[in-house]
Symmetry: C2
Subunit: 470 residues, 2 copies
Amino acid sequence: MSRDFLYNEIANGIAGQIKTGVLKSGDKLPSVRMLCEEHGISMNTAKRVFLELEAQSLIDSKPQSGYFVSRLPYLKLPLPAVSRPSARANDNEPDELTSKVYANMGNDALTLFSISAPAGELLPLAKLKKDIVQATRDLKEAGTAYEPLQGNVKLRRIVAIRSLGWGGHLHEDDLITTNGAMNAVSLCLMALGKPGDTIAMESPCYSGMLQLAISLGFKVLELPTHPVTGLEIAALKAAIPKINLCLLVPNFNTPLGSCMPDEHKKEIVALLAKHNIPLIEDDIYGDLYFGTQRPKCCKSFDKEGNVLWCSSVSKTLAPGYRVGWVAPGKYKAQLLKLKLIHAISSATIIQESVANFLGSGKYENHLRHLRRTLQSNYQHYVHAIAEYFPEGTKTSRPQGGLAIWVELSKGADTKQLYDLAIKRSISIAPGRMFTLQNQFENCMRLCIGLPWSADIRLKLKQLGQLAKSI
Amino acid sequence: MSRDFLYNEIANGIAGQIKTGVLKSGDKLPSVRMLCEEHGISMNTAKRVFLELEAQSLIDSKPQSGYFVSRLPYLKLPLPAVSRPSARANDNEPDELTSKVYANMGNDALTLFSISAPAGELLPLAKLKKDIVQATRDLKEAGTAYEPLQGNVKLRRIVAIRSLGWGGHLHEDDLITTNGAMNAVSLCLMALGKPGDTIAMESPCYSGMLQLAISLGFKVLELPTHPVTGLEIAALKAAIPKINLCLLVPNFNTPLGSCMPDEHKKEIVALLAKHNIPLIEDDIYGDLYFGTQRPKCCKSFDKEGNVLWCSSVSKTLAPGYRVGWVAPGKYKAQLLKLKLIHAISSATIIQESVANFLGSGKYENHLRHLRRTLQSNYQHYVHAIAEYFPEGTKTSRPQGGLAIWVELSKGADTKQLYDLAIKRSISIAPGRMFTLQNQFENCMRLCIGLPWSADIRLKLKQLGQLAKSI
């Protein structure tokens, strides 16, 4: 019996027991080791069983205690189907909605379901302030001088150390710091591509990536993507002859929140290396897993230096700090040249303060807390959506990250919903922002990074009522 | 008699008196008002007389006291000639030297004559630190949130207020903040040009601009430039049919330090507006004038919104802060779109702290001090060069800024000099970095932003000896 089959069978079995009430809310599940012995399976397979059940919000993990049946009632909202974008690359202009939605950024008068970022209340503000003060004291010349081109060495060192956690094995010299991850991706695209090139991405994918690709003169090939397991490998294989570059967000990508299984990552890395197609991997959500373990990255399987791993602290610690980095593998020289040209240097003080924070135990503590909050938010959101949104609504089952993808019935238009919602001071990200094709008109992304409250519930209720009205 | 003729005649007259010893070192010159009455000329003409004499290092200004004959002996080093680049645009790769030289950035073991930046000793470090601490306290959520796309409003407001000083009449809403001025220029080029376009620049010009233009797929048309008055207008006129964009550093550009007279600025702005060719103006050195008055900008004469005025605090306050901005005139929407795509947001804390500093009286105090130091450095450099460098050496006569341009005799090769000097831990910027053509092989740029000392004099002496050996 194949491993895939086994894992599905066991997960379905447990899911069935939960749904039929054999296992009850709060019940403790067997440990990973017990599950292995019970079914004669490997540790990895057992872990995948639990991850799958967590992804379906059927169980929760409690650190040092194990897995428990979720205390929230079982969710009946179905998953959206695998996306089926056109197999033709295109260079359509992104929907004008994107600019409209981003113009709301920083507007305190709105409930910003539209921006994928953790709210300030979820961030360790006092500690960050202290680290900034410390950085201005520690740095030579208070950080006013141009720093070496590759970026703050303390930050590169701690990112390298932390890479062990996802099998990265990076050295500080493998890393270049940037002004956030989008700046890293932008440098990668400029370094490796040229106008007219075709770049493969997930579909739906982050609107900023689409805008970036089009503004640099690329064509974008959107690929079918599964809401749970991410990019469909068969589609990527078929597209190989047509593409020059690949840009993926394998871990908890926005808007879907899917997480590519390790075997898929490994296979994709080998496939792209074989065809000498660089893979730009955006891993900004990787630390925000709802499960028990930080997922690996494509970079974890990169033997050829063909993966350019980009990340930042914008989704975990401080969006406004603009601190990111890239491990560009064999493309380091090109990246350094581009960084010199477009940025010269980064804001040293902020990089140093983030390095201080990451280097202390404070970051792990903060992440643990943030992950728990986001996972709980996600469950609150799904329950509010189930309660208030129209019949036929589907939602993604993110396994991490900051967003939930909501699909209304065919025919509903979330562009129209945006206009109605903004009048009630609610900003959403309509589905059209996440594609260059005619897709996802009835979808929207909602950020789950706002602290849960009666007001947020009310806003979701209002949104649901508006959705029923269109 | 034309105004130009008058001003030259009077300046030459006074210069002659200084050179022949009629006026002696330390002598006080007549006031601007007295000069007006004496010669029946306007205030503006009188001021230009003094500026010209200052540019030639014949006189010094003392705040609240007036002008005095320079205490340093008259400089006999001749000026380099007007540059004569080829009239054909090209897209040659920049000399590999540039990467080599910039790899030295932040290397404390070297004497960095190669980097155009003020040394930390010349910066108000303690005050900057305080302003950063203040900013983390004042900002909502300690600056961790994404700020509105246009950038920190306090910074935009104070830059707008200060624009009165150069006739800018900007409003905070006219400005977009960026990660330093190069980021501003890079956004301008991406917003307004496309691969294959031709962009006109001064020659020699800043190597980073050349790299940027080439990396974006532009062709560069280098234009003849006068070491004192900057771009030759006739050459620009002749080039109009060939160019799509124009990128100039009218005030104290690097490497020459030339300053375009106001009438030239006005004429160029009108010329380019007439032909609908956007003018990107990089004004990072504008506050570093050696004369008595902040020079105007091309933006001062911009009635059509055709000038994109870029600046930063990288040359005056804190290179490592990466705080810059652009007033993009009628191209604001395009710039905002590009900023969203490539940067999303800027580091709020640093922008806020710079805004605090600029808004206090501290910035003007600091600038006064910095300008005096740079002007005095310049004179020390020129005297050391006159003493130690080979016969036939020419130098520019910067009227502001951070650099001096040194031309050795024909046949000398500053690329070779670089290799010799770096072995003695001295880094210079060879002339070839500032062109895409075969020019300036016998030239180099030296930064005057290092505090003058016996050691700097020794390093210049060593450099001179090496220059004699090649």
